[in-house]
Amino acid sequence: MTTELVTKSLRDNRSSTIGWGLALVASVALQLAVYPTVRAAAVDFEQLLASYPEAFKAVFNVRQSPGSGVGYLQGEVFGFLAPLVLLGVTIGHAAKATAGEEHAHTMDLLLANPVSRTRLLLGKALGALTDLAIITVVFGAVLVVGSSISGLDVPVSDLLGAVLASAVVVLPFGALALLVGALSGRPGLAVAVPVGLALLTFLLNALTPLSESLKPWRVLSPFHHAAVNDALTGDPNWTGLAGLLVVTGLLVAGAVAAFERREVRS
């Protein structure tokens, strides 16, 4: 039964997964393809970037010279592109898990099956998680192969560590989408709340280096705990990542409890 739910979820989201996946693969491949040109003109780029406002560089994760492999990946891949796609696919699919069925008025028939609500929600969540896993694996593969071809000179283990951290950081937002969907039955709200929170905490983490007053709040940002930049330099924050998994588990437990009590709209 759970297999059926996961398969159904994968089938329902197939075109979305392919769309997000292709967008990520094409963008990453393009960025890696132009890296040799950027490296050749690294001095010019550094001069150009020096003139950019600090806030811009913070938001787009421009920390090291774009001529170095790590600096290039931080700015062009992990800074904005990867979080955007991974958040998009995870929040989008998790929001549809139960709220999508309820919104489409197909939940009554689904709940008439001999399957508990907990199992139904977890089956659907597993579907969304599988989509994230597929995109993460493809992302990692393209990154490893592309980096090697373009001569980025970043160890494979560091690349994979950063990919893993990028995937883990979106999990709490996906779980929040599940929770809001289970509480409200409204897929739009289940997308809006985690997207808003992701944007807020992303900016909080990115802008903290520029503002002392933001520092105490940085702990609230999952992006801070995921520490993708550190993972890319071979120093992943395992404790932070484990903490994100715990938060995800708590949010999923909340979603299960909410869905068990949910009055399904007709």
């Binding site: 009554d108 008439a112 399904v264």
Partner: protein, 295 residues
């Protein structure tokens, strides 16, 4: 042990009562028709039974047990607001439903689909309302449940499909199944239900056989005589509520047995007599405000 048993089942939405103190008993092997106008609480009752909404108060047992995932394996359900997965073909959808019930057996589904003349190779999104309804019916019975809970099952079916569905229902019940269905069409209830409950504004106002309900309902008998007959002739006869004489035509509104009324009419040169079948609305009215005047 009854297949369905509810005690004081009540559902409120804020200040509005959708269902009040429903005590419903559906016996094994019977077809129970839940009748009522829109908004009477029929769908609320069925959705409470299937556990997609929860009661404000009261209890439900099915086959003597409270609802559980395991118990749902013994129940077939057809929602009133039937929405299927548009992108799946009928066969794909039924395979999904079977798998959700832990089986790959499509034998009964295929037989019933053939009987209802339903093409399982077409996507649900391409089907007409009637054919979507047929697919909904097939999924409700494909696992041969012990109890079928059906919300307006004949809605959208053409007369031929309706007849086939009703005949299937009878076979299903003869085979040991039990049915609770809702309808606002009296003729449907009349054809298939053993017992009927009428819900009005969230309350079960009467529970009876269809024949008995109709017999007690307000009907109009129209007598045509060869010569004018005075209205007063029929006033005061048992069951007669009102008389309207217009020349040689006399219209009497009557409840219950009509023997005495017909015998009285027969004493005059009677040319013709017609009886309007009571429609559901009149039966509803009989059990609501008008009941006070009529009884």
């Amino acid at each position: 042990m009854n297949v369905i048993s509810t005690r004081q089942l009540t559902k409120r939405y804020g200040q509005t009562s959708a269902l009040r103190d429903l005590n419903l008993e559906v016996r094994p092997g019977e077809v129970y028709g839940l009748l009522g106008p829109n908004g009477a609480g029929k769908t609320t009752t069925l959705r409470l039974l299937i556990d997609v909404i929860r009661p404000t108060r009261g209890s439900i047992t099915l086959f003597g047990e409270p609802m559980s995932p395991r118990l749902r394996g013994r129940i077939g359900y057809l929602p009133g607001d039937l929405v299927l997965y548009d992108r799946l073909t009928g066969a794909e959808y039924l395979r999904f439903c079977a798998a959700m019930r832990g089986t790959h057996d499509l034998g009964e589904a295929t037989r019933l689909a053939k009987r209802l003349d339903l093409d399982l190779d077409r996507r649900a999104g391409e089907l007409s309302k009637g054919n979507r309804q047929k697919l909904g019916i097939v999924q409700a019975f494909q696992h041969q449940p012990g109890l079928a809970i059906l919300d307006e099952p004949a809605s959208g079916l053409d007369p031929l499909a309706q007849r086939e569905f009703h005949s299937y229902l009878r076979e299903y019940v003869h085979g040991g199944g039990t049915v609770l269905f809702s309808s606002h069409v009296l003729s449907e209830v009349e054809q298939v239900a053993d017992r009927v409950g009428i819900l009005l504004a969230g309350s079960l106002v009467v529970e009876d056989s269809v024949a008995s309900l109709k017999a007690n309902a307000l009907r109009e008998l129209t007598f045509t005589f060869a010569e004018p007959v005075a209205a007063a002739t029929f006033q005061g006869i048992q069951g007669v509520r009102s008389v309207n004489a217009d020349g040689t035509t006399v219209r009497c509104r009557v409840t219950g047995a009509v023997g005495e009324l017909v015998r009285t009419a027969a004493r005059f040169p009677l040319l013709n007599v017609t009886s309007d079948e009571p429609d559901l609305e009149e039966i509803f009215l009989h059990y609501t405000g008008d009941r006070g005047h009529d009884d």
